[in-house]
Symmetry: D3
Subunit: 132 residues, 6 copies
């Protein structure tokens, strides 16, 4: 299996509901350094997994919708705990939709998997992986 990984980041505010979150129930924030991994069993005609330039561009586009925002006031997340692992799935699913829509190029239809990891500090990260 081949894979490529591209990295970008977002800086967001949010809060959590539930005693388990302790002080994180207060409005706070996070930098999420985001790694998006694209995988496939065979390379395409250009000998690559996917155009790394397009992958970086599309990851940037997905993140731009989330960046510099208070997720508590983002309509689509109303009533939802925007945990790191949940956000990893949001980003992975949006990248998957872009792959299916052809935004990463025709050859990207050969991709079989996406994994997204969000590093929230030097000591914690969360991720989600799915097939395409």
């Amino acid at each position: 299996m081949f894979r490529i990984t591209v990295r970008d980041h977002i800086m967001v505010a949010h809060s959590f509901r539930g005693e388990v979150f302790g002080p994180a129930q207060r409005l706070h924030g996070a930098t999420f350094v985001v790694d998006a991994v694209f995988s496939r069993p065979e390379l395409d005609a250009d000998n690559i997994v996917v155009d790394i330039g397009l992958a970086t561009q599309e990851l940037g586009a997905v993140l731009a919708d989330l960046n510099y925002r208070n997720l508590d006031e983002t309509a689509e997340f109303a009533g939802i705990n925007t945990s790191t692992e949940f956000l990893a799935k949001v980003i992975a699913d949006r990248l998957a939709a872009r792959v299916h829509a052809g935004a990463l190029g025709a050859a990207a239809r050969g991709l079989t998997g996406i994994a997204v990891t969000l590093h929230e500090s030097h000591v914690a990260s969360a991720g989600y992986e799915r097939s395409l």
Copy 2:
């Protein structure tokens, strides 16, 4: 599949038996920066894999039993080469036992996998992964 990773470290002394280990047969030491990964297919009712605070606390508790020790003089490891990969399994198994005992919360019973990686330098690491 969702996952979260928490990081901590231990500083131990030990030696190895076997020609393959060369100078590492002498008593020496290591800092092991430990990444513990918890995974599950669906998030719990709080929209998380596991309470990251509890995960960090329990990893710390497991590591406290090993930290600042000469593993050569630890009874449970008598006659055993405490290689990095072996220690990764020790830590993973002890974390698994804590999950089963409910130390990471009732919802943590939905966890399906644990992976532990020990970084012993900037150029080497070892790990072990298992199901729950």
Copy 3:
């Protein structure tokens, strides 16, 4: 010159005032991974710069006052752009006050400098250094 560095982190929300900040004028957030460096020309009687345990504990105490907060609603920062570089100075000055108050031990009075760096992402950081 000798120095030691300890690391911890905070997760905060804030916003900026001023066109220069662009989208960061919106309420957003950041993880700041904080490195605190303590320096002195000669080691103390224990052959160290400062007790690394105490240094870590006091850095943690200083950060606890800032962690999991919306800095826009913190009285002491009213009307102030809580830029990364500004926060580095706040933390450095508070650490300096603790050194002077003896919180890092009597021998820590031999410290001559403090530098604080806040890493806000994998591509940006800011810092402040001062004498003691």
Copy 4:
């Protein structure tokens, strides 16, 4: 499953053919920081995955054939886009051949998988994994 990872690097020149590569069609270069992961379900008689010294030595030997070269003028890669993911496979396959040839020791025949990741910058990497 157990695994160990060793790291080394190469510094090469190359160019790509295909519009998708944009400015990378020009002769340029890259440092590839290479992580080689060896895995197996059970440890060997020395309680390890493989001799980390031998693994490091053999990775170094495989990389020496590629290091400080212009890959465009390397006969074996004539007419081939030496993408990061392609090079990951080249290195993984050569390591696999060395395992099969006994270069990593007799016990290394118990290895069941190899994964190679090439980090080409702080924001991009590519990899290939295969069974043994």
Copy 5:
């Protein structure tokens, strides 16, 4: 003293002249992960060292002139060993010129120092620092 650091990277080919360089006398390449540090004793009216967005943009502009090139065929470097430390000075001087030309904003004229570090692998880097 305050400072901010921004990071970007370039991927170039080059070769060296001189026996001291050994195999690096052959045409090879490197990824240089570039950290540019801007410093000043007091913050500006916006409470910052310099607009981090502009700093990132100008670093990108300086690097664009070098990126995806064979430095051996770049007229300005004819007959020059483009060592990592030499390139750090080239980049620092070009950033300094942009500061003086006002490209980083009027307030950036309060900057007093620039330091540039090029990381060429996980085990080597080089840098240059100068006043403004």
Copy 6:
């Protein structure tokens, strides 16, 4: 000012004397990832700070004398707390002696400073810098 940095590591056992060290009074160990920085105001005739190959080789030679040892039983450190900051000075001084002895080449006599940092974990490091 120009500088280059090379990295290597050692794995040692030791213990500390003094209540300030708490559990580190027990025999334990550490991996020290060592960064050695060499600086000078002007480049040499080859356009470099120092031959990075020789610098790496000499750092390796200095570290070989310490590696895979129990520092408590090393005669030269008898009765001394081998703190991270103390070891940084030992390594810096030994590198300085090698520079003065010509081991880093004749041109290395133009070096004016050495700084050594030992990273003992992902959250702590210590260093020493001196002139030449």
